[in-house]
């Protein structure tokens, strides 16, 4: 708490002295979303359906991206990682509790059997962005590609609140 408070103070002081960074959404946001249009919250590639990609607002160097993936195809697929213009590196990580502290270990790949679902969620699997180039603000969106062995799946990632535990549309059927 103290760490966060002091760091916020530091950041505030430094922000006064330096120009504010550009907002990610300015560069990457799609056209204004029409009411009821949730199409850019989902994407599909050869029967592999991904929905509700999201991350948390942060000004840190790393960010975790979560998503629900359903393998509706009749073959097993493998999630191999991803890429995005906003980060230098994107890798799959798995949550572990090390000595009582949360930690994320890189995973080489994540197989997903035909007909199964894979949830990338807090305290579980995630795609870790490192070398994040801009601060991520709640309400922003950016684009990324999920890399599967069957191809690349492009979709929008919604930036939720810094303490969010799920996508703001979680539970909706798209």
């Amino acid at each position: 708490m103290l760490k966060a408070a002091l760091f916020a103070l530091l950041a505030g002081a430094a922000t006064l002295a330096l120009p504010a960074p550009p907002v990610v959404a300015d560069e990457h946001a799609p056209a204004q979303e029409e009411p009821g249009d949730h199409s850019h919250h989902e994407a599909e590639l050869d029967g592999v359906h991904a929905v509700h990609a999201w991350t948390r607002a942060t000004d840190a160097d790393t960010a975790l991206v979560f998503v629900d993936i359903e393998n509706g195809s009749d073959r097993d697929v493998v999630l191999e990682g991803g890429e995005s213009d906003i980060a230098e590196k994107v890798e799959i990580v798995g949550f572990v509790l090390k000595d009582g502290a949360p930690a994320w270990e890189p995973l080489p790949q994540m197989p997903l059997k035909a007909g199964r679902e894979l949830k990338l969620a807090p305290n579980g699997l995630a795609l870790r962005f490192t070398g994040v180039k801009e601060a991520l603000h709640e309400g922003d969106e950016f684009e990324m590609e999920f890399h599967f062995d069957v191809g690349h799946l492009a979709m929008h990632v919604q930036v939720e609140a810094a303490n969010a535990m799920h996508h703001s549309h979680a539970g909706h059927k798209h």
Binding site: L6, T15, I92, G100, E105, P111, G124
Partner: protein, 441 residues
């Protein structure tokens, strides 16, 4: 945050970040001290004042120490609980149970707080045990006990996994009537016991009359509730309940997998272990179905810890407020105390001592009380945490270790900086006193 500052901060190791934060929090106190005493040496006089009013000073130091100790102890205890509960779950990579509450299932399977839960069938067990990448699948069948110690039915593979490969004493069970005891079970190798049906005060002591186990081995201490458990072959647990042995007729004497699904009475939980983390995640996805729930105890714990962290944050704020209030009280006391010093300080002024020297003496005196109280508070907090840890360990069998880490030192550094700043008030008030009037007493 500006990129250069952000890059610098994230390039630091966590220890360097903590050390820097500590230094930044303590810096205002040090800088203030340097400015206040610059050019003067007030310490001899401060020492004399401390000695002259030693009991009052000691009381003030103790008051500050207790208030700082509450904050330090709170943070240290929360971390100790978090680490202790996480250590206890270390061996439990993935648990598969019937669908229900993950917390309830985790408490039952990992922390041995049994509850009535549905059983998983032999078909489910064999599906899991036969899956690709599964290096260990073991039933965890709880429900019986002996004098408060849970009796758990499982396999030799699980005992080996829990013992990190080697028993501390004796050997593995090889017969239906043999058992391996946890490190703190009060039964020696060679001793026998009859399990009670159930756990706790309502356990039926004579529920399994005629069934006798003999201890043949002992697991090393793990600092977990499993130190108080007695592990027996799962086949024998089924048998003492009058059920099939898990193996087809003619093979009843067999112990361990593979089990025959048709003669598998059921198990409340299955421990699944894969050598690779990604495989554990793949297995969780595979066994999250309509009839099974797969979860990582570590992830469930992390959610509980987050809740614990929120409570700690609220309590930390209350602890800081308490500290500041106590210090405000102490400083108010100091203002009154300065009236006792007034004649001596006025004499100093009359002898030609500069106002700033007198100011430095009063502030240094207050700063010493705060600094000494804060240091003593760290010791008080650690001692309180050590005592509470012992009590919690004795009651839960989860080894809780008290330790001091950066957050406690950062809290104390912040407290010291804030309160020595407040200590400027009595120093200014002292200067405002009329010298001549004070000289006359």
């Amino acid at each position: 945050m500006p990129e250069a500052l952000s890059d610098f901060w994230y390039a630091l190791s966590p220890t360097a970040q903590d050390a820097l934060l500590f230094a930044l929090l303590l810096a205002p106190a040090i800088l203030l001290g340097l400015v206040v005493v610059a050019g003067y040496r007030p310490f001899a006089l401060v020492r004399a004042m401390l000695w002259r009013f030693r009991w009052t000073s000691l009381l003030f130091i103790l008051l500050i120490a207790v208030s700082v100790g509450i904050g330090v102890g709170l943070i240290a205890q929360e971390r100790g609980l978090r680490q202790g509960t996480a250590r206890a779950a270390d061996k439990f990579d993935l648990i598969v149970t019937a669908p229900g509450s993950e917390v309830t299932m985790m408490l039952a399977a990992v922390y041995l707080q049994p509850s009535d839960v549905p059983l998983l069938s032999g078909r489910v067990f064999n599906d899991i045990a036969g899956s690709e990448n599964v290096s260990l699948a073991a039933p965890i069948a709880f429900g019986d006990s002996f004098e408060g110690a849970p009796v758990i039915g499982t396999t030799a593979g699980f005992v080996t996994h829990l013992s990190s490969g080697a028993l501390a004493e004796g050997r593995m069970f090889a017969e239906h009537e043999e058992a391996v005891a946890g490190a703190r079970v009060p039964l020696a190798i060679g001793e026998t016991f009859t399990p009670a049906h159930g756990v706790g005060p309502s356990a039926e002591e004579d529920g399994h009359q005629g069934h006798v186990y003999r201890i043949v081995g002992r697991m090393p201490a793990s600092g977990t509730p499993w130190d108080r458990a007695i592990l027996v072959p799962v086949e024998s647990v089924w048998e003492v309940h009058g059920l099939a042995s898990g193996h087809a007729p003619g093979s009843e004497a067999r112990l361990g997998p593979p089990f025959d699904a048709d003669y598998f009475p059921g198990t409340p939980a299955i421990l699944v272990h894969a050598d690779q983390l990604w495989a554990n995640y793949a297995l969780r996805s595979q066994f999250t179905t309509a009839e099974t729930m797969a979860f990582f105890p570590g992830a469930v714990l992390a959610s509980l810890h987050a809740l614990l962290g929120d409570v700690r944050q609220v309590m930390s704020v209350m602890a800081v407020v308490t500290q500041v209030l106590v210090t405000a009280g102490v400083l108010t006391g100091l203002i009154i105390l300065m009236r006792l010093f007034a004649r001596r300080l006025a004499l100093l002024r009359a002898l030609g001592a500069p106002r700033r020297f007198v100011f430095a003496v009063v502030w240094s005196y207050a700063a010493f009380l705060i600094g000494a109280g804060a240091l003593l508070g760290i010791a008080v907090g650690f001692a309180a945490s050590a005592i509470i840890s012992r009590i919690v360990t004795a009651r839960t069998d989860i080894l809780i270790r008290a330790s001091l880490s950066w957050p406690e030192f950062q809290l104390v550094a912040g407290f010291v900086s804030l309160t020595v700043l407040l200590a400027l008030v009595p120093a200014f008030l002292t200067l405002a006193r009329p010298v001549v009037k004070d000289l006359r007493g």
